[in-house]
């Protein structure tokens, strides 16, 4: 019995060491674990005022592999959604038949898919007139203007839209965005959106090491009502010396993977 206990203890230690090693790398750190992020940089401490600076990680909860439970579709939205053959969720098809522009062609994830799928660690940087969000996944960034400007009227669509932000109170930063490109999907279930999509993000800093993100989507062309896609998603602060991995879905790599799946279809 003692031998058995010793064996399991050693085996468990080895496994946990391997998992932990992937979370404490000085270079190419992949972020938190697959479960709820649990990293702390020190004892619990109050949130700083009007400051989201730092590297934040939702752990496995950020991935969103199955997609999001969306609001009912309008007829126009349903027709658009039927053209999406997704890797998971209600529109899931076998791998060779997936037509996700992100995974099969290396297109940008776009906004707000970057919040709803593969939300890996990201860094927030404040400048005098902007908040910058630097995402590990795709190695892309967003500019959120805080200089008081208004969102554009009838904007030319962009992969990552147009965003303005304001402090609702000392610990809640609210971002409003328009002008997204309807070629992108909302999530890994292939939920669609139109160019008319309006997005609200609410970042509530609960403590020094914890922040909550709520994302609300309003797109009356596609959905019969506004819906909450992320509801108080917990984000944990990573150590400031964390060097994040590159996680870039390149067109070259997508083509290599697509070639393998094509062999499956030809069988």
């Amino acid at each position: 019995m003692r031998t058995r206990f010793t064996f399991f203890s050693i085996a468990a230690t080895v496994l946990l060491s391997v998992v932990a090693a992937g979370q404490n790398l000085p270079w190419n750190n992949p972020g938190g674990g697959q479960g709820p992020a649990a990293r702390q940089t020190g004892p619990a401490a109050p949130a700083p005022r009007r400051d989201l600076s730092g590297i934040w990680d939702a752990g496995g909860a950020g991935i969103g592999a199955r997609g999001m439970p969306a609001a009912p579709l309008t007829p126009w939205g349903d027709a658009l959604g039927k053209t999406h053959q997704s890797g998971d969720g209600a529109r899931m098809v076998p791998a060779p038949d997936i037509n996700d522009p992100l995974s099969t062609m290396g297109d940008p994830a776009g906004f707000p898919r970057n919040l709803l799928f593969e939300l890996r660690p990201f860094q927030v940087v404040h400048t005098p007139n902007q908040v910058l969000m630097l995402y590990m996944f795709e190695k892309r960034w967003r500019v959120i203007w805080t200089d008081g400007r208004q969102l554009p009227k009838d904007p030319d669509p962009r992969w990552y839209g147009y965003s303005v932000g304001r402090w609702e109170d000392d610990y809640t930063f609210v971002v409003n965005s328009v002008g997204t490109d309807e070629r992108t999907w909302l999530d890994n279930a292939g939920n669609p959106h139109s160019n008319d999509l309006e997005v609200e993000e609410r970042y509530r800093r609960v403590g020094r090491d914890l922040m909550e993100l709520t994302v609300t989507l309003d797109d009356s062309k596609v959905y019969t009502r506004p819906w909450v896609a992320r509801d108080k998603l917990q984000l944990r602060l990573l150590p400031p010396d964390t060097d994040l991995m590159e996680m870039i879905p390149s067109a070259t790599e997508a083509a290599a993977v697509k070639k393998i799946y094509a062999a499956e279809r030809q069988q």
Binding site: R4, F7, F8, A11, A12, L15, V18, V19, A21, G22, Q23, L25, N28, P30, G31, G33, Q34, G35, G60, I63, G64, A65, R66, G87, D88, G89, M92, V93, P94, A95, P96, I98, D100, S103, F117, E118, R120, N188, M245, M247, I248, P249, S250, E253, A254, A256, V257, I260, Y261, A263, E264, Q266, Q267
Partner: protein, 123 residues
């Protein structure tokens, strides 16, 4: 006894790791989730890529035919968390692979565990 315990431990650990939502690109539509194959073979390529890494290897089936298999794991970020690396395999490595094949009989599948010639196992 020790081998049996190791098997139980690896199965439990594999279940723990496999249950994590790491296969983010696609679900199980392609795979025959009722089948489980163990093949001995020789590595021909190790593709370290998004959205999935692929281990390619030659293995002989029960009829004596050698087929080139391509088995997927998750992306480099998630595999790094599990202790895998771009240099984990090289062509010519002798391996034993436990996998879940696709439904249509193609030599493609989802890797569960791979054991190297020195006895070390990645999962």
């Amino acid at each position: 006894m020790k081998a049996k315990l190791l098997g139980v431990f690896l199965a439990a650990a594999g279940l723990l790791v496999a249950s994590a939502p790491s296969f983010a690109h696609h679900g199980t539509a392609s795979f025959d989730t009722t089948r489980d194959l163990t093949l001995k073979g020789t590595v021909t390529d190790w593709i370290w890529a998004n959205p999935h890494c692929f281990l390619e290897f030659d293995a002989m089936d029960e009829t004596g035919t050698v087929r080139n298999w391509a088995v997927e794991v998750s992306n480099p970020t998630d595999m790094t968390k599990r202790g895998w690396a771009r240099g984990s395999f090289k062509a010519g490595d002798q391996i034993t692979v436990n996998l879940q094949p696709v439904k249509n009989g193609a030599p493609i599948g989802r890797l569960r565990t791979v054991t190297l010639r020195d006895g070390s196992t990645l999962l």
